[in-house]
Each structure stands twice: as structure tokens, then as C-alpha cells.
Amino acid sequence: MRLKITFMNACMLVKFSSAPKLQILFCKLTLILFFCFFPLSFISLSFGEHAPEIASYKIEVKLDTENKKLLGNEILIFRNISNKKIDTLFLHLYPNAFQSDTTIFMKESLYPDRIKKKEKYRGYVEIKKIKVNSGYDLTKEKIIDETIMKLPLQKPLTPGKTISLEVEFMVKLPQVLARMGYSGNTFVIGQWFPKMAVLEEDGGWNAHPYHANAEFFADFGTYDVSITVPLEYVVGASGYLQEERMNQDSTKTLVYRAEDVHDFAWVADPDYLIAERAVDEVELVFLYQSENKKKVERIMDAAEFALKYYGSVFGEYHYSRFVMADANVGFGGGAMEYPTFITISPSKLFTEKIKLDEMIIFHEIAHQWWYGMVASNEFEEAWLDEGFAVYSQRKALEERFGKTGNLVDLWGIEIGDQDLAKFGYLLDPQSDIPVKNSWEFQDYLSYRANVYYKASLFLETLENLLGQEKMKKLLREYFLRYKFKHPKTEDFIQLVAEIGGDDLDPFFFQFLFETGICDYQVASVKSTPLKKENEQQIYQSEVLLKRSGEAKIPVEVLIELEDGKRIEKIWDGKRRWYRIELETKSRIESVMVDPENKIVLDIDVNNNSLTTKSQDSVIFKLCSQYLFLMQTFIQWITSF
């Protein structure tokens, strides 16, 4: 059972630009409401399923808009969930990725050197003081290696025990390069505070530096974050707003609480406008810029649809608030997922006929399930959240806009999400496997092609092999079983075996752990008159099928005869070729391997069929269109 504090949260978001009396009245009202509803929020805590509290934070942060800095104090409570004593703690200092152009992140990123070298893109975190359990000062003992901080403990932390760290820090914000920084008056604050790395069960630390391709991995906990900003700023953040108070120095402090999450991000901008909507038990909030006013309904509709759709298919959205922030801030700040909060970048270019806004919203909201609640390791197995999110976004797009043309439906050109994924996959299908450390991919193209697109097409193929209902059951079970946990690829494979049967093991192995491609083709079709039987002509027909790729999956074969008869066969695909010999009463008209296109990973569907009737109209159409296009080009280039 969850309770929402809708009205209070709504009040807290109101931009304080009106008269001071009104502000005081408003504060009083919000305080009264706060004290009325605060006990209820505890009721909400005491019921329902919750994440294990491993790393919890109480942070007080002040945004210095003039100097582009964050001044913060953090109390971090960490529990040793491993079965070993630990004598060192590891923390992430993500802002240090921007401290110079020679950091791991900068060296790996694709930004041009002239951007990397610019001073305005410099950012870092400075650790001013660290104390353990409000006593021992660890400031001098800390060892910082770019984005990782190592803290040797005076006394080892035994299994099951907690430790409290007090950290005083300052973050110099860069102009937004990736997820964190400022752009004009907009502040996008993600991966900003000193954050615990993940302690594995065996006592080892999962603490990787901030890589350009990799995203993040953290343990669940509760975040109590007090954000102080200038009075005119509107803030959107993870979690629920608990309190808002005015300060003497023309600032205000907003107190947020986020439970059962593994990260906390926020945005601030004086020009944000607010749209709100109740979606069942969830309060949906959109912070937008005035230039996107006309798009508000469309964006809210898309978000509402996604929350409902994913909720019904995968399992209920755990939280009672979801915030979207318009963060069209250039490099990398545009679209990103955080628990209960996403940033998006709507564009007027994306009209009703180009549904890229919807695609991005569906993708980032899917991450609330695949990253937010089912918190797989984005460093090491990014396909478990990105591949799942792309697959989920496709399902949502198909449900809302149909199977074809669900992304672009303009001037007779129809492009679906699956087409886009296939295109992305074909950009580099063979350099890497999807299941590997994010920074070990050949390059960003290969990372994207395999982690996002191949993985999503792999899930699509899995759905086609299992059937829609079984796939839904599988994803629902995966969500319920691993909610607030850190599942790995083998957990998913194990679950598929439970639901779909063991015979899918080779399928997983070939597509997730090998770089081989899948390509079936119909090489030749022949029908020769053989004899007459009771005045009926008999034909000796022969079909030759080939497998050009390395991947071997059993595939359906459909043979259609000129008399309309259909013959269906299954080829196990184990050998490189397969010859089918038949005696038929009619000639073969066409042969198709995988006639329903179940194996969407097949890299060339054009060679999947062969017909004895040539497609002259199609060729004529394509050629005449191309001819006209060339005539127009030549007309154009010779007109200057």
C-alpha cells in the first residue's frame, strides 16, 4: 500500500515569484499540510515491499548559481552486506570525470578535442572533510584516483554492521557535457555527490571508474536531500517533496525524500513551468520550458500511457511520483534516467508524424523498471537495462501506434522502431558481444549496436520463439523476482529456462556470448516434370536452403505450390545447407525460410525467399522512383 502526498507536492513546486505576503501564507499552508500528511508518509513506509537499505544518504546541498558550484554535506550510512570483514571503503566521485581532458571519461568520449580542452567544460568534486561515525577524521587517509575514492578504515567493518560517514564536499559544475552541469540558467545535477560503490557478497568491491560508455551501478537506500536554491528557481528531483522553507538570504530549501532508490538527481531552472496529472495512484509532473508549451499534452499523454502500459505488463510502478524535466541543454544532458525522475529534450522538429519524443519518453520510463527497480549492473552488463528498455519502448510504441510506422509516418515513408533497431544493429553487428564490460567495446558504435539494438532484437526474437503470452509472463516474473535486486545475465537465462524450457540455451549462447550473425537464405528452387500418374503430371521439386551466418536456430520453411497447396517444414539449421526434395503435383511457386520473420536478428531478410514469378512491378516502381530522384538531383546541381 502506498500513499501519495499529491497536493503538498504540487504546492511545493509552485514558483515563488509572487508577493512576499502570499509566499508567507503559502509557506504556512504548506507547513500545516506537511505536518498533517507527514505521519501518513510513515504509514506508507510501514507497508508494502521495500528495498534493502544498504547505502542511505542525508545530504544538504546549496546551489551557487553565480559560481556554478554545489556546496554539500553528506551523511552516508552504509551496511556491510557481504560475508567478510571489510577494511576499505570505495566511493565514486563522478564529477572528477570532467577535471581535465585526460581523464578516462574524457579520453574515451567522442567529443572533439577543442570541446574537451575548453575551460567551461571543467568540473570536479573537492572532498573537504570526511569523518567516520562522527569521530575519526579520514580526510588525510583518503586516496583519490580520478573518479574513485578509497578510504582505509581504522577498524574493519564486520558483516551486517553499519558505518556512518560524514562528508563535506564542493562540486564545481561544468557546462553540461554528460548528465551534469549547467547551460544558461538550467542546472542538470546527476551523479553529483560522493556515492558508495557496490559491495559484492564475497566482500569484493564493484567500483569502476566513470567510463564514457558505461552508466552506473549502486545499492538501494533512502535519500533525504535538502536542496537550497535561489528563491526564483523551480526544482524537480527524485523522490517526494517533504518540506519547503524560505531562508533569510533570498534562497529557499526544498527537502526531498526518496525511498527504495539507488540514486538521486535533480534539475533547477527559474523558467520552468509545471504541468501535473494524476495517473492512477501516481502523480505525474512535467517541468517544461515555455517554448514547449504546445507539446505538454502530448508528452503527458505519452508518459501516462507508458506508466500504465509498463505497469500492466511488467508489474506495478513502485513509487507514487514521477517527474520529467525538459533538459534541452546540448551535449549529453538531454535524455537520461534516474529513479522516479527523467530528463528529456522535446523538439519542435518531432511533429505528430515523427514520434521520437514518444520514443525517448517510453525508453526512459522503461528504465524505471529496467534500472530503477530491477537494478542490474550497468557497468558490466548494460544490455540488461538498455536492451530491455529499447525492447520495452518498442512494445509500447507498437501498442500505441501500431506495428508499422510507429516512429515515422510521413509522406508515405513508414519507419518502425524495429526498423531503427535493425539499422542500428547492422551498423556493427560483429565486433562485440552484448554481454561485456561497457568500456571494453571496440567503440561507441559497437557498444550502441550490441547493447541497445542487438539486445533488443534478441529479446524480440525470444518473444517470437516463446510466444507473446509466455514472454509477458517471463518479464513479469523477472521483474517481480528481481525487484530491488541486482540480477545478472545468468539469472535471466535461468528464468527463461524455467519458463521457456532448456532448449533455448544455445540461442542465448550464440547471440549473447558470440559475435556470429544469423543469415538464412533460399539458394535455389527447381521443379521438373517427372511422370504422369492417372493423367496427373508429377513434378520432381528441389529446394536448396543455405545458412551463411554462424548462428544456428531451428527455422520454419514454407513451400507454396502453384495449385495453392502449402508445405511446411522445420530445418534445424545445424548444417550449412539443407536440400528438400519433393514429388509434387504442381510446380513450386515460392519458398520462404522464416516466413513470419520470427528471427528478427537475420541480417538479410531479402534472401529469405525465392519465387518463380518475378516481381516486375516492384522493380519498375523502385527504378522509376530512383530515376525521377536522379533527374531531380541533376536538375538541381545544374541550376547553379
Binding site: 516502381k621 522509376s624 531531380t632
Partner: protein
Amino acid sequence: MLIFASFIQGIKNVWLNKFLIGIMFLFKLGFSLILLAPIYLMFSASFGTNVKASSLLKSFDFSLLIDFVYHWRQTLSIYFLLFFLVFFLAIMVFIFLSGGFWGILRDQSKKEERNLNMERFFSYCARYFWGMFKIALLLIVFYLIAFLLFLFFLSIFDSVAGKGNWLDITSWRAGVKISAFAFLFFLVNMIGDYLRIFCVQNFQERFSGFVKRAFRFLLTNIFKTLSLYYLLSFVLVMAILIFAGLNELMDGIPKTFFYVLLLFFLQQILSLFRSFYRLVYYSSQMVLVDKLLMEKETLS
């Protein structure tokens, strides 16, 4: 009235030399066919016996086209080289042919009717080739200057009106930028036409001489020349819109071979019309020059 009369006379002059339309159309068709040939072979291999390809009759099925591009990626990379080579060749051949177009239309404008059109046409092609080539080189410089002017305008405009989102093509800022771009580039295009007119009319003169004459003419008659250019462009835009409307209407027709054939004819008619209309541009502007120069002579 002068503008409209030039336009009408321009159409008449082209109509009296219909073979020019044929040459213009065949020039485009020839080079297009060269570029089509390898693509035709690839289309046939991928879709000629492909059962699923029938979906391409209804729409551009991207699932097939993406795999087509992947399958032929190595051939296509070579094809793109051919593409640029053919385009370069087309430009050179057009520079050669344009001497013929302008020369014949000059004769028509001056009422100097002669026989043996094709012979005359190719003799003009040869006679004016070097002049036309130098004009093309000069125009490259003018386009660069226009581009720099556009960048200069952008920097001033952005500082006054604010940058806005570069993706936002529907905003008024984008509208102003696109209009400025179009104005500058069409202006250079128009200058090119008048340079060619003065080239064929003052063939004996030095290059710098007729360039000066052309600019002097343009500066003294800028509103008239611009008005004619925009009248011509307006009619062309209307024709293209009518074509787009017809195309839209045809969407209701079942996607059979008949539809494809109809679409093919419609496209070729538009291509033929644009060949004709390119000559109308040339011819009308030439008539305008003659009329204005004659007017000036009469006055003096």
C-alpha cells in the same frame, strides 16, 4: 507589364525551339540512366524474386531497404564514387550544352531565325564553352561570398534575436534564416543567368568587359530583374505544388502495375516540364534584357 510581357515572350521563344526542351530532357535522362543501371541490377538481385518485396509496392518497407543497404554496402561505397563522378561529368556537359541553349535563345530573341538548328546548337556549345566555364568558376566565388555574407548575417541576427534552438525549424527565427539563405543564393543564381546573357550577346568582348556590363545592367534594373525572377519562381513553385497534389490524389489508387505506370508518367511529365521551364527562365530574362536595352537606346 514589361515583366509579364517578357515572361510570355520567353515561353513563346522556347516553344518555337522545342528541340531545346528535348536536349535538356535527354541530358537529364541520360545521366540519370547511367546512375540507375547499377542500382537496377542490385534491386533485381534483392527484390526480383523476393516474395516479401511485394510490400514495396504499397510503401517504402524499411525492413527490406535496410537489409538491402547492408547486403550491398561494399558495392554501394563504390557506387557513391561513381555517383560523384557522374555528377561532375553532368556539370561539365551542362556547361558545354548551356552555350547552345543560350545561343539559340539569343537568336530567337533577336528574331535572327536560321535553319539547321542542331548544327547551330552545337556550334554555339563550342563557341561559348570557355566563357560559360569561366562564368561557372566565377559563380563558385560568388556562392562563397554569399555564404560568408549569410554567416555574417547569422552572427548579427543571433546577437539581436537570440540563438534559439537550431533544431527548431518551425520558429520565426528559422524562417528568417532560411529566407535570408534562399534570397542570397537565388540572387547569385540570377546573377549567373545575366552573366551568361551578356556573354552570348557580347561574345567578342573580354570576359571582364561583359561581366562589368552585366553588373551595370543588374544594378540599374535590379527591381525589374528580381521581379521577373520571382514571377518565374512563383510559377515553378505552383507547378511543383500541383504535382505534389496529384501525387497525393494518386495515393487512393490501388497499388498495382497501373499505379506504378501512372506515377512514372506523371514524374516524367514533371521532369519534361522542368526542362522546358529552365529554358523559360533563360529565355524570359534574355527578352527582358533586350527590351530594357532597346528602351534605353530609344531614350538616348
